[in-house]
Amino acid sequence: MSGTNPYLIVAGMALVTQIPRVLPLLLLGRKPLPSGMRRWLSYVPASIICAMLATQLFVYQGRVSLAGNEAFILAAVPSLFIAVTARNILVSVLTGLVSVALLRLIL
């Protein structure tokens, strides 16, 4: 643990996290953005979700790996099926939880 006051670190972290969070909301939104910009931004959610999902499923102990993630990867199949058919986030989360718990009993 370094000697700096932990509360100062928290304050510094809060500042650099909250400014990029709040600033665009306050500055933008009154006027619609240019249509090109809006089209570009419409792909941001899909991009972020898939990037985070990939690191959840295929990274094990800091490295890209299938080994160690078998249950996670296999459980993605039923949860993705449910996600596409039922279109309900909660149901696909629960499917995932149950699948992983069952897979761990088998694997």
């Binding site: 643990m1 509360y7 100062l8 670190i9 928290v10 304050a11 510094g12 972290m13 650099v16 996290t17 909250q18 990029p20 969070r21 709040v22 600033l23 665009p24 909301l25 306050l26 933008l28 939104g29 619609p32 953005l33 090109g36 809006r38 570009w40 419409s42 792909y43 941001v44 959610p45 899909a46 991009s47 972020i48 979700i49 898939c50 990037a51 999902l53 990939a54 690191t55 959840q56 990274v59 490295r63 890209v64 949860s79 993705l80 449910i82 996600a83 596409v84 279109r87 986030i89 909660l90 149901v91 696909s92 989360v93 499917t95 995932g96 939880l97 149950v98 992983v100 718990a101 761990r104």
Partner: protein, 244 residues
Amino acid sequence: MRATSHSIFALRRPQLIRIPRYLLAALPICLAYLPIAFAFGVSAHNSGFPFAATVAMSLFVYAGCSQMIAVGLLAAGQPASVVILTTFLVNLRLLLLGTAIAERLGHWPVLRKTLFGLQHTDETFAALSAEGARVPLSQNRTLNFQSVIHASWVIGTILGYQLSGMVLDVKAFGLDYALPGMLIGLAGLMLRTRIQLVVGLSSACIALLAVALGQATGGVLLAAICGPTLGYWLERECQAPTPT
């Protein structure tokens, strides 16, 4: 109306017990956040970070990935400047999320916009985006939705810090799959067009490539810049009249 029928706040069928819709919408994200916040609480405790500062971090920083990194860096004896700079770089993508959602709260009062921003995360952004990019957000429902999720983050942190001595096996219930499960659910809602699918797959590859090259912290940000650029370009190419 297509957009509202797919709203994350939409009710599927009549209910006997009236559960507020924002609670139902928040539940999967809370389920995902609790074990992660718990893990953060445990590692903060183990690296000797004070309890009050740990809770303050979950309250005021509220960014899972960088909180975990910060505690790790501090435990490794890194100076505060490195911790804060890393936090800044990891969280730059929040600028992008805010820009993407700003239009949907254009009519909100400034104070409520600020409140929204302070509790805006990748996951709430993704869930709210599933409604469709142009649907205006209802103020109370959205703020309640985000507050419940933030509360689960803080509660998870407190539990993790206080119970860090006890061995609690979240794996036995598959609870560690809550976050991937939720992302899969969101992907199923959002990847509806071929271009979206291509953007998603290439963003996934970029993020993994970054991890393989040892640049895990910047990977999602890099993907969030390259992916939409590819989507924008593909959309323009597909719409362009074929040259004769």
